[in-house]
């Protein structure tokens, strides 16, 4: 298993764990307690506060602990709008923000606030001019991420911040992906509120912070009420070991930022070089400055779900993990102008402190092989709508050789980690077949597909004396679609046409144990089979009379 999903979450640095363990074991007191063990815990919390502040050029007192960047974003946005409600009810943000920001904004809309969701420019960035143009007299807050989590594109926060300060508009920045990756100096950048997360910086999950500027003071209405911790801005017992872990992670990030960035940029370049050699590969956000650890690539001519299923031993993501469960094409990539198909067939590679060159090379090789395999199964030797279109792909690059006989991982088909049925999974890993020449005697071809083109199944039958002498398929779609094609071709070979006419969706579903949610794939199979059988019947009729 190769882990290339640092943007979703990072491994905990062993040095961070070492710092945390004493506070999980012996020094367990509540930092709010007024006895010796409590004061020791409090001192550790304050040390960590200084460590976190130091990475971003803040004062320790400007750091408020939260349970993570989602809470920081919620506190900043909802807290500011609530506190400054007499000032106005308008927020400016971008469509490419993290869900935590977007969902907090949508919630505010239900409470009567107005939100402008800016569309980024074609390079993926939100330009300061766009933000300024969107300001209204009652704009309270602008919320913009420093680094986009899906593409790694860096927004011009340093240029925008003074412009908003001049105009008296509060500026919140989600820096979850930026901290430890790009230098942040809040002493020089007049951002008012800044969200931070530990688990993106080799720290623990479940802890984050919000920077709240003291001069000039940004005010917030607390969103978590209780014992009055964190200057009243965030109540709840402080999780000492978590906080200590975040402090240590940020201290290490500060020490190793430059070296990490250089090393990770080298890995990224190696990965890009290998993958962009593959025609039809598009580097998303290629025209904008990007962080070293994130690369987002779209692969034309393959379907996204099948692509991800083809890489079961690579831990990477199609976009933000937070929207992984929904399997919707990335809103960020659509905003960049990718169509649904391309947005879906994109992979986010993100490496970090513990990624090795060998891992990157192996991952790239795996991806190239699987993209070629899926394109071959789709019957597309050269992916059509893409050559030269990509911002960094294709043109001039040497295409790798066509796929060998069966590029299904090493040896047997790999274990299913995505929850497909055993039979679908086996058929999905069957090799691409070369189609029969259309001019060959008795060859009939027909195709079925969904209107939006998300699924396509082509069947070819070579009919000799009323029997299928050979059958081939080509398929573009999810793993179940591919499995249906592979199964139908094997089912047809050697059979009499009369027998095949009885094959329907129900039989396909039963044979492959296709669940209800995927029943449409079996219908596609039935449609393709009927189409090719009727093509054969018509030709036969025409020839007879």
């Amino acid at each position: 298993m190769i882990y290339l999903d640092y943007a979703a979450s990072t491994p905990l640095d062993p040095r961070v764990l070492d710092a945390m363990l004493p506070f999980l074991r012996e020094q367990h007191a509540n930092p709010a307690s007024d006895h010796a063990p409590g004061r020791q815990a409090r001192a550790a919390v304050e040390r960590a506060r200084a460590q976190v502040a130091a990475l971003v050029g803040a004062e320790p007192a400007e750091i408020v602990w939260t349970s993570g960047a989602t809470e920081s974003d919620n506190l900043a946005i909802k807290g500011a709008l609530e506190f400054y409600k007499s000032r106005g009810r308008h927020v400016v943000t971008a469509r490419t923000e993290h869900k935590a920001v977007l969902d907090a904004c949508r919630h505010l809309e239900t409470q009567g606030a107005r939100v402008t969701y800016l569309k980024p420019q074609p390079d993926g960035r939100v330009a300061p001019e766009q933000v300024l143009a969107a300001l209204e007299p009652d704009t309270v807050l602008v919320s913009l991420m420093w680094v986009n989590n899906e593409t790694g594109v860096v927004n011009g926060i340093e240029r925008l911040a003074p412009l908003l300060r001049e105009r008296g508009v509060l500026f919140h920045v989600d820096a979850a992906q930026a901290a430890g990756r790009v230098p942040i100096d809040l002493a020089a950048t007049p951002v008012d509120l800044l969200s931070l997360s530990a688990h993106k910086v080799c720290g623990p999950k479940g802890i984050g912070a919000l920077f709240v500027r003291r001069r000039p003071r940004a005010r917030l209405a607390p969103q978590m009420h209780g014992g009055g911790h964190e200057q009243g801005m965030r109540s709840g017992t402080l999780a000492t070991h978590q906080i200590v872990g975040m402090g240590r992670a940020f201290e290490l990030a500060a020490q190793e930022l430059a070296a990490d960035a250089a090393r990770v940029a080298g890995l990224r370049d190696g990965l890009c070089k290998r993958l962009l050699r593959l025609p039809g590969t598009i580097l998303n956000g290629a025209d904008a400055p990007r962080v070293p650890h994130i690369v987002n690539l779209s692969f034309a001519g393959v379907e996204g779900e099948a692509l991800r299923a083809s890489l079961p031993d690579l831990a990477l993501s199609s976009g933000s993990a937070c929207s992984s469960a929904t399997q919707e094409p990335s809103y960020v990539l659509r905003a960049l102008g990718r169509d649904d198909g391309l947005a879906n067939a994109s992979l986010r590679f993100s490496c970090g402190r513990f990624t090795t060159e060998a891992e990157v090379a192996a991952a790239a090789e795996r991806v190239v092989r699987q993209v070629l395999r899926l394109r071959a199964i789709a019957g597309e030797t050269s992916p059509s709508p893409l050559a030269g279109e990509g911002e960094g792909g294709g043109a001039g690059a040497t295409a790798p050789p066509p796929p060998g006989p069966l590029p299904r991982g090493e040896g047997e088909f790999p274990p299913d980690v995505y929850g497909y049925g055993e039979r679908v999974w086996q058929r999905f890993w069957q090799p691409a077949e070369s189609l029969l020449p259309e001019s060959a005697p008795g060859v009939f071809t027909a195709q079925a597909g969904t209107p939006a083109g998300r699924q396509r199944l082509r069947l070819q039958l070579q009919i000799v004396d009323g029997r299928v002498a050979a059958a081939r398929f080509a398929a573009y779609g999810c793993p179940t679609t591919l499995a249906v094609g592979a199964w139908l071709a094997r089912r047809a070979e050697g059979r009499a046409l009369a027998e095949l006419r009885a094959v329907n969706a129900a039989e396909i579903r039963q044979a492959l144990e296709i669940p209800e949610a995927r029943a449409h794939c079996s219908l596609l199979g039935e449609d393709a089979l009927n189409a090719v059988l009727s093509a054969a019947a018509n030709r036969h009729v025409a020839a007879t009379y």
Binding site: S9, T70, A104, G206, H225, T237, A315, A325
Partner: protein, 385 residues
């Protein structure tokens, strides 16, 4: 002899809990929302823990929503219901934890009608007054803790819930202090919302849960990402959740043994305390948590005594750790009708599973000595009366 006697403030994570957490701190490091194998392993671990935590409350796994702790669970319960019923009253017992009281105050500032429910001299909800209060108009929510963090007094939640339900109200029970100390049954409690915290049951800090009837319509507190059935956004604290699960399972399996142990220590300690002239034990006439005793030896202020005990290595508290550092008398004791000058003398001892007889005896002895020396310094304290 130093002793940690502040288990209602927080507990030390059990070694077995830390052991269960370690693989998730040093091994599979994925985001449970990720679709790859690591992500799924993390997701499985979260779901196992969910079943363990639900089991401690006798609830179904699908009813548990993970939060960052008891404070968030209480905020989510109270504000989550209030947002859906802006025009109905919200009731809470006067002895609730600040993380119920403060959300109520915040809601009042936003125009919600909130009302405290009075308690009697033992800290138990005054049922007659409560019933009359319910009759005065629509009530959306009644929030009542199962056991109090300061006095340990246990409420008659079944009766409170029955009255609340008859009035059409949803019942929220803060079980943060009760969990792991007395048996819990979410379905039998009458509550539709129940808050739990990990670090009070020998689990890690920074994680808690709200057990919620799935039929309830709750407004989320943290938006974004759609985790926890859309009720609580944010990447799951996998190691913390796993630790909470392990702690909940141990608490359930060892409940009887732990209860018997701390009760024996508490009785021994209380017997010694009762020999101190002028001492007053709060809530002594009501059922209490087996590990908690809150007392005062007026006119010796808590601040004085706590400082001296601290120097001797005894970690105890005046009451709620969250309110530490403030010189205000406990709102719990005031609600029980305790005079302010006596409330300012409160000391809470909360025992834990790892405390020993020697520690309990040591504390009692130390306290007597300190009081004697104070008595010498302050002639007005009639210790030998």
């Amino acid at each position: 002899m130093p002793a940690y006697l502040d288990h209602n403030a927080t507990t030390r994570a059990d070694a077995r809990v830390v052991e269960a957490m370690l693989p998730f701190l040093s091994g599979p490091y994925a985001n449970p929302s990720s679709q790859h194998r690591y992500g799924r392993a993390a997701r499985d671990a979260v779901e196992t823990a969910r079943a363990q935590v639900a089991a401690l409350a006798g609830a179904d796994p699908g009813q548990a929503i993970f939060t960052s702790g008891g404070t968030e669970a209480n905020n989510l319960a109270v504000k989550g219901i209030a947002a859906r019923h802006p025009r109905e009253r919200l009731l809470y017992s006067a002895v609730e934890h600040p993380c119920v009281l403060e959300p109520m105050k915040a809601l009042a500032a936003h125009g919600h009608a909130v009302e405290a429910v009075a308690v009697d001299g033992q800290g138990r909800v005054d049922l007659a007054a409560f019933e009359a209060q319910l009759a005065r108009g629509r009530v959306a929510l009644v929030s009542c803790m199962i056991a109090n963090n300061e006095t340990g007094v246990i409420q008659d939640l079944a009766r409170i819930a029955a009255l609340a339900h008859a009035a059409g109200a949803v019942v929220h029970a803060d079980a943060v202090q009760a969990a792991g100390k007395i048996p819990l049954s979410f379905p039998e409690s009458g509550a539709q919302l129940m808050s739990l915290s990990s670090h009070k049951i020998y689990g890690p800090k920074g994680v808690g849960a709200l057990v919620a009837d799935r039929a309830l319509d709750l407004e989320p507190l943290l938006h974004g990402g759609g985790q926890e059935r859309g009720l609580r956004g944010g990447t799951e604290n996998v190691a913390g959740i796993v630790g909470f699960g392990a702690a909940a399972e141990l608490a359930r399996l060892e409940l009887e043994a732990r209860t018997a142990h701390v009760l024996r220590l508490r009785e021994r300690l209380e017997a010694a305390l009762r020999r101190i002239p002028g001492i007053r034990v709060f809530g002594a006439g009501a059922p209490r948590l087996p590990n908690t005793v809150q007392f005062a030896v007026p006119p010796v202020h808590s601040a004085t005594l706590l400082g001296l005990l601290d120097k001797k290595g005894y970690a105890v508290s005046s009451g709620s750790a969250c309110a530490s550092g403030t010189d205000e008398p406990s709102h719990v004791l005031l609600a029980m009708g305790v005079a302010e000058d006596i409330a300012l003398c409160a000391i809470r001892v909360s025992l834990g599973k790892d405390n020993t007889e020697a520690e309990a005896d040591g504390f009692a002895g130390c306290l007597r000595e300190l009081l004697a020396s104070l008595g010498a310094a302050m002639p007005s304290v009639a210790l030998n009366a």
